[in-house]
Amino acid sequence: MSMETTVEQIDGAVPVTILALDGELDASNFRELIDTVKGLYDEGTRQLIIDLAGLRFMASSGLVALHSIVQIMHGEEPLDPEGGWQALHSLGGEPQTEVRLAGPQPAVDRVLKRTGLDRMFVVHADRYTAIDAATAPA
């Protein structure tokens, strides 16, 4: 029950951080993932791509992690009693673009779709299309 994370930084006009997940995301490690992203945000990451290509399994705790990650990348403390739902409310009909998901395997893609979490994210086929989208001039 383990997951490895790899962080890559792409410098450019729009710097992008790629966080690749390898293994299984579940109740045993979702808090570590949140902490990892908190660290990245504190170090200046403002565009994050989560590469799911190596993620074989995601339990429901993974959804909690993804939600918290969106909050962190919005500059909010996760579970902040005053700010908890602002991230979601401010989304309106459009998914946010600070965090992008890339290359989910079918099992993970199914969880995202079934739970509606795919409404919260733009899900790209792979990391390269995600990088193109994240760095494209607005």
């Binding site: 029950m1 299984e24 579940d26 109740a27 399994f57 339990a59 429901s60 705790s61 959804l63 909690v64 939600h67 918290s68 909050q71 996760p78 579970l79 902040d80 009693p81 005053e82 700010g83 908890g84 739902w85 979601l88 409310h89 079934r114 739970t115 509606g116 979490l117 409404r119 919260m120």
Partner: protein, 375 residues
């Protein structure tokens, strides 16, 4: 939670000046100088003792004969004594420490941070109390979930609920609606995440959902209303996946609404392969609106509907393999001819055996509803 921290000191090599130093371990953040000094009493009163934090900041330097009383309230840089050093030397005479004193001193140093021992005992007591509280919480949680389904003529209904070691957020509900015809309401839900927060949210949501179902026109509306209340009144990163259904008893018409939950399995009496009833909206508590579609299925005499939580399919064997949906189907194929209770027991036993020797990591909930063959 920190448990079983066993404080100890690690002796460092003898210094040239004859001083002895020990590194403190343990988690205490307060300096109990009396306790630190106690083991050295009765040695040479001319000895001096100093304590510095892990980063070398001096905290106290005092003679054993007259310990500095103010040091007791002194703040520890970095918040913890762990990694700090106790140093004892014979400064008064300027001479080194003699062999006899050195031996007692070494023994005293080994026992030095007795303050940590007291704290470890306190931590153990706290851990025990927390464990008791958790067990109490599990019993209370269990009491919310009545395992005895309501008597429903013409149907065979059974339910299974098994809490994980760490309290989880599964729940189910089976009750007769107040409206005309007294249809049967069935709910299976799972609060994401674990622990006290999930259990509390479960205790909050279960009656809310129950009331919503009893006061709206159908399961989709009930989920929508529950979602609205949660999104407006509650702030957290926890969600609920929920499957809510309403069964019209005379016709076997089962209408369902699925908010991000595992879809129900329909096992037909004609021995065709079981099928999942697809069609769902997002989980409850995550979005301002759910827009969950209402889906329906007709239970013919002999047909069985199986509702469950991800504790089944996500169950993990020691090898790392997941139970998955194919094992669920396999278990159903073997037991489909039995009663609702047989089907559930077979599945729960298979999942349990699959995980052994590990205890279930997640709650497991199963509800089976079979329309009895016409008499």
């Amino acid at each position: 939670m920190r448990t079983g921290t066993r404080p100890s000191t690690r002796r460092l090599p003898l210094r040239d000046d004859g001083a002895r130093t020990a590194v403190m371990t343990g988690a205490s953040a307060e300096l109990d100088l009396d306790a630190v000094v106690a083991p050295f009493r009765g040695l040479d009163p001319g000895l001096c003792l100093s304590i510095e934090s892990a980063d070398g900041t001096p905290i106290v330097s005092t003679s054993l004969a007259a310990p500095d009383a103010d040091a007791v309230t002194r703040e520890i840089p970095g918040g913890a004594l762990s990694g700090g050093r106790i140093r004892v030397w014979g400064a008064a005479s300027g001479a080194g420490i003699g062999p006899a004193v050195a031996e007692s001193l070494a023994a005293a140093l080994a026992a030095a941070p007795v303050t940590d021992l007291a704290i470890a005992a306190q931590q153990a007591a706290d851990a025990r109390r927390l464990e008791e509280e958790l067990a109490h919480g599990r019993r209370l949680q269990r009491s919310f979930v009545s395992l005895i389904p309501p008597a429903v003529p013409g149907y065979d209904i059974a339910a299974h609920y098994e809490a994980a070691r760490e309290v989880g957020g599964d729940f189910f509900d089976l009750f007769r609606l107040r409206k005309r015809g007294r249809p049967l309401s069935v709910v299976v839900a799972d609060v994401t995440g674990k622990g006290i927060a999930a259990a509390l949210l479960m205790a909050f949501v279960r009656p809310l959902l129950h009331a919503a179902i009893d006061h709206t026109t159908g399961p989709a509306r009930a989920l929508e209303r529950t979602n609205k209340i949660l999104v407006e009144e509650r702030r957290s990163s926890l969600f609920i996946t929920a499957l809510a259904g309403e069964l019209d008893l005379p016709t076997g018409h089962l209408s369902l609404a699925n908010a991000g939950h595992e879809p129900p399995l329909i096992v037909r009496a004609d021995r065709s392969p079981p099928t999942w009833l697809e069609g769902a909206g997002p989980l409850v508590g995550g979005f301002a609106r759910l827009d969950v579609p209402e889906i329906s299925v007709h239970l013919e005499p002999g047909d069985l509907a199986l509702l469950y939580t991800d504790g089944i399919t996500d169950a993990r064997a020691p090898s790392g393999e997941r139970f998955d949906e194919w094992r669920l189907l396999e278990s159903l194929e073997a037991s489909r001819g039995g009663t609702a209770r047989d089907v559930i027991t077979a599945l729960a036993d298979t999942v349990c055996a699959f995980q052994e020797p590990a205890a279930p990591a997640d709650d497991i909930t199963i509800v089976a509803i079979r329309r009895l063959p016409s008499a």
